[in-house]
Subunit: 184 residues, 2 copies
Amino acid sequence: MDAKTLCLGVLTLGDASGYEIKKHFEEGPFAHFHAAGFGSIYPALNALLREGHVTRTETTQTGRPDKKIYKITEAGRKAFRHALHKDPAPDSYRSEAIFMMFFSDLLDGDQVRHVYDEYLAKYRTRADRMARQDSCSCQNGQRFVHGLGLAIYRAVVSYMEQNRGLLLAPHATQQGGGAASVAE
Amino acid sequence: MDAKTLCLGVLTLGDASGYEIKKHFEEGPFAHFHAAGFGSIYPALNALLREGHVTRTETTQTGRPDKKIYKITEAGRKAFRHALHKDPAPDSYRSEAIFMMFFSDLLDGDQVRHVYDEYLAKYRTRADRMARQDSCSCQNGQRFVHGLGLAIYRAVVSYMEQNRGLLLAPHATQQGGGAASVAE
DNA sequence: CATTCATATCTCGCAGCGATATATATCTAG
DNA sequence: CTAGATATATATCGCTGCGAGATATGAATG
């Protein structure tokens, strides 16, 4: 699925600028299942404009830089629906943090603890934020995806809490404690 | 984390050819947390050879094409350990299937059912395979990562089974027949 | 008064994914 | 018995697109 299709998808939810589309991929409802950077979004929007799949309105703002609001056209909706009817590419997940934890025996204790703590904190924050967001979205697909994200985040948090001992020294589970043998 | 570091990581687990390294990323213990294609692996191995981080042994096989076995050097181990001490890049997860399910209201029922069924089947298979693999790996980091993968897959399967109704029409599950109201 | 942050658009280089080419032996189907 | 698929094995090429930076400005922070 290319960047154009992703942008069209966001635009079916409402008109937006390139900047807003990016934010959508960072904080929005499917932030957790896809990403896109400026380097893909802006070229994609220009291509969509050329193809007549979106229209562009330039809004002059006082103070702020000018905004270019993109709106999906009927042709765009049709193209998007068409793209959704192809077989989905397989999922791809990549996590450097987990790769590091896999090799925890090659790392010193402080680094493992650091990576573990940061990772758990990040997933806790996300789970909390998602739980608060609730399902303001009325559409079933959106509710389904939101719930799935939440379920995954909770599973990760729960597993990590219960298996901390596997990664971090078998002796002390305390963090404040006095670093007995671990000296640097 | 670049392809070179990923290859070094695999080679700390044992000598391997480029082909075997690829298989490692497809079926091995961290298959689920990273991927790499030939287009990244072979150039990476050549670069590592130039840098002295691996050595290469050409083995002539009868029948099969020649194999080039790569072995990590002391310098390579050091470089790998060094790379593991940098802050990990944030996770990235991309799933076209979930993106599609998000927009399930724009798709016709057959397509949604198709995507849902394929997706659930794939995750069930993976969860089963992982459960069977067990933790033959004695190292803690490997056990931790294996368990985490299993926990995530189980959470996905469980959530999807319980929330099938959100995506697929509330009335009928209609697989074959005329479909009354409640079939399941 | 300086700096950092948030809004906003856009380009460029480099990494790397997917597809393809090449070669061969075995396994499967017609 | 041959045709095609499958598995082993290496390698390159083009296109996509990510990350980093350039550019611009007002508002909040120090």
